[in-house]
Assembly symmetry: C2
């Protein structure tokens, strides 16, 4: 675990160095939390959890740290229609399912076939496509109205 932490810290230091930014305990705590969860937390949720590591941290600093991580490529920002953004500490190519009831987000293990993406971008006239995002929507077992209506 201590070993793990050193590894993670090193990743962060390297990425910050590369973009001329400094290592701070606040950024480390945010990064550690993001790496250790698959709950795709909002900035506020990150703030709440990180307070136990860094008692005096402010919400503004959490926002700034998250933005820094996104800028370094160590996290990504997910935007849905429900008001607040969510952050994801996974940097590999993957996608999500989101529950329309409770808003929870789950990772998918597969990704879209590359040929499929190529085919789709052929209609993006003149664009240089650099990425894509796929999101499935639906209902988790707890929130499914059909299950609730007819609990067979």
């Amino acid at each position: 675990m201590d070993h793990q932490h050193r590894g993670i810290e090193e990743i962060l230091r390297t990425a910050l160095d590369a973009s001329g930014q400094r290592f701070t305990e606040q950024r480390a705590a945010v990064f550690r939390f993001l790496r250790g969860t698959s709950s795709h937390p909002t900035a506020d949720e990150v703030f709440l959890h990180v307070r136990s590591d860094v008692p005096g941290i402010s919400l503004a600093t959490v926002y700034k740290s998250l933005e820094t991580l996104v800028g370094c490529g160590l996290a990504s920002k997910l935007t849905y229609g429900d008001g607040s953004a969510r952050y994801d500490g996974r940097t590999d190519d993957h996608h999500h399912v989101r529950c329309l009831g409770c808003g929870h987000v789950l990772d998918l293990v597969d990704h879209v076939d590359a040929g499929e993406v190529d085919r789709l971008q052929s209609s993006a006239q003149g664009f240089r496509v650099t990425g894509y995002r796929l999101e499935l929507t639906g209902f988790c077992p707890t929130c499914d109205p059909e299950v609730a209506a007819a609990p067979a």
Copy 2:
């Protein structure tokens, strides 16, 4: 054109009726504008354009109308990280490319292969998947930094 307008108005009346809501000139103007553009406007852009049809309309009413249309299934709301939502008057299954420079959104003509979606949702343990959303991101010719850097 007048014929077109009557057709569109009829669609709106029917959808509103079905959900127990009233037909108003404001809702009609918003709907007409959304149907007639493929620019995926923000609420504010809708407001600006619709003012020429309905001079006294307020931004709040535009927001309410857009939400009404979405509720009736006559439009959909696109949410990106850049602050404000965009609205789309197309109701058929389709996807988008978004320019990371200027934020413009273009429609794609193809959609993802159904089998591909089936395959992906197999890892969404317990979820009942009801829909999906795909968005390509990249740069339009005007905003492409590579083109700007090296205009070969």
